[in-house]
Subunit: 485 residues, 2 copies
């Protein structure tokens, strides 16, 4: 393990992170909010060590192996979580540091589960920091999964359908920087568009920016206690629905569109299934709300579509209290928490591609039961998926379900009712945010015990980093000094 | 597809099945019960077509391929379910034929979910038939999975850890008959022992026989409305606990013990994990009942052990109303419905071996993340598991979870609450029987809509035949006339 490289990179990231913290600080100064000192302290505590690390471990030529990359990713998430919690803690808007950490991890992982019962009394600067953690975390995830991991040979951990104009072996770093910058631009354009539209639809400018950050990152934090229900505006819901759906798509598709300017990039199985799932669920749920719960057909479809998009993109916004809906719609939304959006997107969950692959593998297996000698290969968008990648998808599915189960048992142990406990675990692991019942969209996680919050915090991180990154660092081999490869 | 062979075998099975129906008929005659005519009609309707088929399609030398074997298995389950429902229907103890079918499939698949609210008013002959379906179904499954499927080259669909003294290529049929007869003997000895012990512990002779059938098959039908709670007897609970645990073990282990007479057969990872899971769950649940629900420590452990053994072996007996227990214990028992017992046993669920393999694969995968060039093979009890088998286990896990999800949505659609719906689907798919809430151990499935009963019936069959058998016959290739292999 090349420690100097790791520390140098982490130092640089801390400085950048402190720079990001300056944005809400400047807002606090502009609005004259009392939270200025909280931010100032946080910026200093984050920035100074970062600056010192950066100076001490200058690394002009980066020599990062797979392990160094893992260490940087794990370290960055750890540091960003711990320092990002400082503004909440210093401002004393949460009772304990664990609560502040929960809120920050929930932000950075784009989960959007909150422990703050009344967010409307928070200073605007803290609200902005809250949304900003979503936005930064979301961008970090896209860069990690589209740019860094494939470079580190971990591309098959996820599966890209769209052709990523990825780095070749020579001149690696410049190309990586290129791609990352293109992704940033796309992300920025989406956010700006979303903010402008929300502003023009009647939100205040700051609310529009906050909700744009939250929407594009599939986060779910709102500046209102009643979430999107507060606005009760069809226009706002439609804008948010559109951008939630947009954010659940593989950003490599946008990248290809950006570079190649051809509509062919949309010929993507995962994208098709993603849109079909939202449409199908919206229709079924709307039917259920119309016939069972007596909503008007317009209202039923409006909220059904919003909630389907919100849960499948794992944003977790609520335009209605879906925890009060008929149990069938609840189980569909519960399932959506597990499925999630596309690989290479900001959304959480298991990701649709993995379900497509497993379904195809199951079908092929049935076929083989009858024609044992026919070897059929699994293809996705014309690409053959090798057995090892397929195995990895199956293993990931298993790990995910088992972690969900263990977390559910733990959450039930803290006193939640069975289904509520399961929904809390699923919502944390899938980076969705709200669950059902005691952790439903009209409540917060404030009432959960500290132990329960710790479990959910771990789930959010495990889900966000797709297990391997986080689990890897617990293995003794990871820490051995010398490596052969 | 060789139709004559299939029809000939099915005819022979129908005659045997009609013979089994004569047992409760004889009891009805002996006790002078009014259900005699119901049984007589059923025996005739089952036996006569069977006899005619048998005579018409005499097959001295059986030429069964994989497809013929699948067709026989599917046909046998279908016919046994439809004709087995006749006694209930003729006796008019259920409102519709669908209910009778549900009760029979529940019996044959060793699920033990009942639609009869008051079983204590049933004639003894019908109660015996009910338990007998468990016993016959359980034996059928053991023979299918230990003897027939491995012969048909489908051995890797499941996984045997214990060395099955399996058939070699020459003189196949005599050896198969040998093994099947040995298994029958073991099964019979267990049942007789269980019945004798229960009788001596205070049950009436008939109740003891019924409960022995039900226990050894991990079925769960009782002759009492309050199930095992009715007896409130520590002795009876301990006897049943012992035999439930016994029945969740791979019968290939008993077979090896029977033939080789060495204790080495117990050195089996799955067996170890199976016992460890029961012990661990019993302790955790007992702790929860003691500290949270205020039971005495003795009572807490007594019921915790019984329920852990009952749910992991997927018997589904209840010595207490576990649906009223703390939510954490409920989720543990819910998880047990998915895990199930050992492969090659009578129990349902996904089976422990599959979990062990998936866990090992996940661990190996983590290892490979750090040492990408190290190829480590997955072993179970010293045997290397090839990638293809591993893949199949992952696919089975996926299919199981997805079927559970879809069935949960369907059950919620019939009006059940979310967790109740999920537990009904899990209990049917895992061949457990009772779930939680509206389908808990103190209630029956009588109140479920006919559509819901149909869904659960299908789930019971899918779970029992482990998908492939049942799904296979829906594929067009299956029905094509000529096959090359
Ligand atoms: K979210
Ligand atoms: K059962």
């Amino acid at each position: 393990m090349n420690l100097p490289v790791i520390l140098g990179v982490l130092g640089r990231l801390l400085v950048l992170y402190a720079g990001a913290m300056c944005i809400p600080m400047i807002l606090a100064i502009a609005l004259g909010e009392w939270s200025i000192t909280s931010f100032l302290l946080s910026v200093l505590i984050t920035g100074i060590p970062g600056f010192l690390l950066m100076k001490r471990f200058k690394t002009p030529e980066m020599k990062m192996g797979v392990r160094e990359a893992f260490a940087v990713v794990a370290g960055a998430w750890l540091l960003a979580s711990c320092t990002g919690a400082l503004p909440y803690w210093f401002a004393q808007v949460v009772p304990t540091y664990m609560d502040a950490l929960f809120e920050t991890v929930s932000g950075l992982t784009t989960t959007g589960a909150s422990v703050i019962n009344d967010v409307e009394i928070l200073p605007q600067s803290l609200l902005l920091w809250r949304s900003l953690t979503h936005w930064l975390g979301g961008m970090g995830i896209i860069v990690l999964f589209i740019v860094l991991l494939p470079k580190a040979g971990m591309g098959s951990v996820l599966l890209f359908n769209a052709e990523v104009p990825g780095p070749t072996n020579d001149r690696m770093m410049p190309r990586i920087r290129d791609i990352a910058i293109s992704l940033w631009k796309i992300y920025l354009v989406f956010t700006a568009l979303c903010a402008l539209l929300l502003w023009s639809a009647g939100m205040t400018f700051l609310d529009a920016v906050n909700h744009a950050f939250s929407t594009i990152a599939t986060g779910g934090f709102s500046t209102k206690n009643n979430n999107i229900m507060y606005y009760d505006s069809l226009a706002i819901e439609m804008i948010i629905t559109f951008f939630m759906i947009l954010s659940g798509v593989n950003f490599a598709i946008y990248l290809s569109l950006w570079r190649k300017r051809t509509m062919k990039v949309f010929r993507n199985t995962e994208l098709l299934v993603y849109l079909a799932l939202i449409a199908a669920a919206a229709l079924v749920i709307a039917g259920s709300l119309w016939f069972r719960s007596g909503n008007s057909p317009e209202d039923a479809f409006r909220h059904a579509l919003f909630q389907a998009a919100s849960l499948l993109s794992t944003t977790g916004y609520a335009s209605a209290d879906f925890a009060q809906w008929p149990s069938m719609t609840k189980i569909i939304l519960f399932l959506f928490m597990f499925i999630g959006g596309s690989v290479g997107s900001v959304s959480g969950g298991l990701k649709i591609s993995r379900f497509i692959l497993l379904a195809k593998a199951a079908w092929a297996e049935l076929k083989r039961g009858i024609h044992p000698r026919v070897v059929s290969s699994i293809k996705l968008d014309g690409k053959v998926i090798d057995g090892e990648s397929l195995n990895r998808v199956g293993i990931f599915f298993f790990l995910y379900v088992m972690t969900f189960t263990i977390a559910s048992i733990a959450m039930a142990g803290t006193g939640l009712e069975s289904f509520d406990a399961m929904s809390a675990a699923a919502a944390a692991l899938g980076n969705v945010g709200p669950g059902f019942g005691a952790v439903g969209p009209t409540t917060t996680y404030a009432g959960i015990s500290l132990g329960g919050k710790a479990v959910l915090t771990l789930c959010m991180l495990l889900g966000r980093l797709e297990f391997f990154t986080l689990l890897m660092i617990f293995r003794p081999e990871f820490w051995r000094r010398r490596k052969i490869w």
